[in-house]
């Protein structure tokens, strides 16, 4: 189902749209993974 892009403009709208979604996922996912990563560490809150 390869969609053909005739203009760079359409290509950008499409790819950046998906990239923005991935960015949102990253922003949520990275902190969660950090929590997982440090979940067993001793509590040493600094704020």
């Amino acid at each position: 189902m390869e969609h053909i892009f005739y203009t760079l403009q359409d290509f950008m709208v499409h790819t950046k749209g998906i990239t923005y979604l991935i960015m949102g996922g990253l922003l949520v996912g990275l902190p969660l993974f950090w929590l997982f990563l440090t979940g067993r560490d001793e509590k040493n809150k600094t704020f």
């Binding site: 709208v13 923005y20 922003l27």
Partner: protein, 425 residues
């Protein structure tokens, strides 16, 4: 604007608030009980009144009735000053909070809250001012929720400003929650500090630089001395010292007019903040000069330096970047707080000059003089009005909420949470 409404709501017959006011013995505050007709307050009232009239003119007569905008100059003062300068000068929020929380410079702790408040108000005002500038403000949510034009850098700016405004709002709420005595929610929000700070830095990096990148697609309109592939980098780096200068500048104003509101920690730390920030600002400024030079050389724009545009370019760089950098450096070496404050004024003016140069002065530089843009008095008046609204709200908030001091109920709680808190330094 949302904030004003909430404050008004809260000030109107809300039992909780009244209780709070009685308790904290603030009901005698001059701002609420009676307004003293000092010259400053009279001027404020006049500006607010004129702004109100012009607001009506803008929304009932259209952009054409109040602005000098035309088809060749679609962006004027409201974008150049209110948006570009507003966002750059509100960078103090992310700079201060990241210095304190991410880089562990705990001695800046007392500077974080005022900086967050200024940033929040700054961004709120930017959005407020955008409502004047865009043709159909009620469609402002469209780009994010209805028809995202992802290929546009303005979309990027809009999305980040929207998200960052929310982040700043949450970062600011502890002050309001302490004021209201909602301990549990406050502690929950304080627990999010680290996450919010990192979000703040990411979003700020993106939209500060994207504001510069807005002009990337107009190489034919912006003078080559200001146009550069590095524009986004320039905007981001300069936002750092813009934010630091603004924190120092705002601090000196607060010291003058709101001294009685500050607690010991704030007062004792403030000199350290000023000197620390002037050192940092000075170094970043010198780095910025360096990359400006690289920009000149990489595009081989040296020959433009000897034109009148080149003089203006050098005036901006030497007078408003190199000079404040030098004064900051001297101030930091000699631990001279006053000198640092003087430099901060120059730094703030320099940022305003730079942003106006890019958006107005050097933009459309090839057009004949009679087709160039100069703001109408009404545009200037609305910009002044917007800034005034910001100052009034700032005064209201600092009058009631624990911004320049720590709330007594949370001081110790904080210290015990925070085994090696700010008193360590």
């Amino acid at each position: 604007m949302g904030l004003q409404d909430t404050i008004k709501d809260r000030l109107s017959n809300n039992g909780l608030i009244k209780n709070r006011l009685m308790k904290s013995n603030l009901i005698n505050n001059p701002l609420i009980q009676k307004i003293e007709w000092t010259p400053i307050n009279i001027a404020t009232a006049i500006i607010l009144f004129v702004g109100f009239i012009l607001t009506i003119a803008r929304f009932f007569g259209g952009l054409g009735t109040v602005t000098n905008l035309d088809d060749n100059n679609p962006w004027g003062l409201w974008i150049g000053f209110d948006l570009l300068c507003g966002v750059a000068l509100a960078a103090g929020g992310y700079v201060t909070s990241s210095a304190c929380y991410i880089f562990g410079l705990k001695r800046y702790h007392s500077a974080v809250r005022p900086a967050i408040l200024t940033a929040f108000l700054g961004y709120a005002l930017v959005v407020f001012a955008l409502n004047y500038d865009v043709g159909r403000p009620w469609r402002l949510p469209y780009p994010i929720f209805y028809s995202p034009g992802t290929s546009s850098l303005l979309f990027e700016v809009g999305l980040c400003v929207f998200l960052y405004l929310n982040v700043l709002f949450i970062e600011f709420t502890p002050a309001a929650l302490e004021w209201l005595g909602l301990k549990k929610i406050r502690n929950f929000v304080v627990g999010l500090t680290m996450l919010l700070t990192i979000f703040g830095v990411v979003l700020s990096t993106l939209h500060q630089s994207s504001l510069g990148a807005l002009f990337l697609l107009a190489p034919s309109k912006l003078h080559p001395l200001w146009y550069s592939g590095y524009l986004p980098v320039y905007f981001f780096i300069s936002s750092m010292f813009a934010g630091m200068s603004m924190v120092i500048f705002e601090g000196s104003l607060a010291h003058k007019y709101l001294h009685h509101k500050m607690d010991e920690t704030h007062l004792s730390e403030s000199d350290g903040v000023v000197l620390g920030f002037s050192k940092a600002a000075s170094f970043v400024m010198v780095g910025y000069l360096g990359i400006k030079l690289i920009g000149l050389s990489i595009d081989n724009n040296w020959h433009y330096l000897f034109t009148s545009w080149g003089l203006w370019f050098l005036f901006e760089l030497i007078g408003f970047v190199a000079l404040p950098a030098f004064i900051y450096a001297v101030a930091a070496r000699e631990k001279n707080v006053k000198l640092a404050r003087a430099a901060s004024i120059l730094g703030v003016l320099g940022i305003i000059l730079n942003r106006l140069n890019i958006s107005l002065v050097a933009f459309n530089w090839q057009l004949p003089l009679e087709q160039r843009y100069f703001p109408s008095w009404m545009e200037i008046a609305i910009s002044v009005f917007v800034v005034t609204v910001g100052i009034v709200v700032y005064r209201l908030i600092t009058a009631y909420m624990p911004i320049l001091y720590e709330h007594p109920d949370y001081k110790h709680a904080d210290d015990s949470n925070n085994k090696h808190g700010h008193e360590e330094d």
